[in-house]
């Protein structure tokens, strides 16, 4: 799960000619950093149903969880970063189409 999301982020970064500066921390810490807009993205098992959902932005689903009641897996972005969110959603949609075809 985490490895899958990591590969996805690396792939997004390649598309955008960006380098990823990874930081590892507890989810709560990362969401708080995201809210303060100190980081750009949180990946690695972000549930769609997180109580943080109205304080941060969530992309479209990127996968599922082993436990079905956790909802879909997503990536998290800082609140109000609408262009960033749209860019991510478009890339995710494109990767999913590539995979399907």
């Amino acid at each position: 799960m985490v490895r899958e999301d990591r590969a996805l982020v690396e792939r997004i970064a390649r598309q955008l000619n960006a380098t990823v500066a990874w930081r590892h921390a507890a989810a709560e810490t990362l969401y708080a950093e995201l809210e303060r807009r100190n980081i750009d993205l949180v990946a690695g098992g972000v549930p769609g149903k997180t109580p943080w959902s109205h304080r941060i932005g969530l992309t479209k689903p990127v996968g599922t969880f082993a436990a079905p009641d956790m909802g879909e897996r997503r990536l998290a972005v800082p609140p109000g970063e609408n262009r960033w969110l749209l860019t991510l959603n478009r890339l995710i949609a494109r990767f999913q189409q590539d995979k399907a075809s």
Binding site: P79, G80, L85, N89
Partner: protein
């Protein structure tokens, strides 16, 4: 006076108004659903929902009170049901104030908390479409009917001296202006200004509060037996000025006391030394459909502090400075 006693053209206008209000109730309820589906379940959505619900209040109380107006006076209501329309006016005006208040509170809270609205995207025909576009579409659809309805209601409200209907037209104005502010806000968000939505809503909220306050104030004045007022300006109503001047010229009339009972006017004559004849006075104002009740008051009030019953003085005092 019941609706059956009103002139035919007024009865026709009233029927037209009732049909318009039924259409308003149906259309606005549908819009609540459409906008709700486009907006999702955000905090802002809950406020919008509360506002939409409140915008149904004026048409609902209009239909209820005009239904009551059809009833004749009876043992329990010896003066008839005219004043119900005055109560409906207060309720409608307070609903308008509440809409403005909700909108302003929401805008201010958003600005203080510096909440940045996050708007995602939807898959439409294999394209990721920014949800803001869909919201703008929904707001355009939601904004058109209130413009038309409000435009149709205003002239009828003036002919009917119907302040509930007038307030409802103001509510329609509040509805379409809120939609317009929402569109401006979304465009602003699209350009990266997170505060655009709240700022636009805040500006509109002041306008709605201003309209609501003017209506509520006149509604309270009416229920407190002040002289009849125009709606937008709180000046003495033209009908009252005309009726007052006409009756004042009659022999034996020392003063004319008037108050508004719903759309009607209640007239009490202050008699001089020689009381005027009531049938004479009635003949004078036959053409004035708004006079629901004309009576000759007791001589006692002539000794009351000056001014009561002096229509000219009332007009001058209320005239815009």
């Amino acid at each position: 006076v019941t609706i059956a006693d009103l002139p035919p053209e007024i009865r026709k206008d009233l029927q037209h108004a009732r049909r318009l209000e039924i259409v308003t109730l149906i259309v606005m309820s549908l819009l609540v659903v459409i906008v709700g589906l486009a907006m999702g379940s955000s905090q802002a959505m809950q406020t919008a929902w509360a506002e939409d619900l409140l915008s149904l209040v004026p048409p609902a109380v209009f239909l209820f009170s005009t239904w009551l107006e059809r009833k004749e006076a009876n043992a329990r209501f010896p003066f008839g049901y005219e004043r119900c329309h005055g109560i409906a006016f207060l309720v409608a005006a307070v609903a308008l104030v509440a809409v403005g208040g909700f909108l302003l509170a929401e805008a201010v809270l958003t600005l203080i908390r510096q909440e940045r609205p996050t708007i995602g995207s939807l898959s439409l025909f294999g394209e990721e479409v920014w949800q803001g576009w869909i919201m703008i579409g929904a707001l355009v659809v939601a904004g058109v009917p209130p413009v038309i309805l409000g435009h149709l209601k205003r002239p009828i409200a003036e002919r009917l001296a119907d302040k509930v209907l007038y307030t409802d037209a103001l509510m329609n104005k509040a509805d379409w202006m809120t939609s317009l502010a929402g569109i401006a806000g979304l465009v602003g968000i699209g350009f990266g200004y997170w505060w655009a939505d709240a700022a636009a809503a805040g500006v509109i909220a002041f306008d709605i509060l201003h309209d609501g306050w003017k209506s509520a104030r006149i509604a309270i004045l009416e229920l407190a037996d002040s002289v009849p007022r125009k709606l937008p300006s709180a000046e003495l109503s033209d009908d009252a000025a005309r009726i007052g001047a006409m009756l004042r010229q009659e022999k034996g009339v020392d003063g004319v006391r008037m108050r508004e009972t719903g759309r009607m006017i209640d007239v009490v004559i202050i008699p001089g030394e020689h009381a005027p004849s009531l049938p004479n006075l009635e003949a004078k104002i036959r053409a004035e459909w708004r006079v629901a009740n004309l009576s000759i008051g007791s001589r006692v009030v002539t000794d009351a502090p000056a001014g009561a019953g002096d229509v000219e003085r009332a007009r001058a005092a209320l005239a815009k400075k």
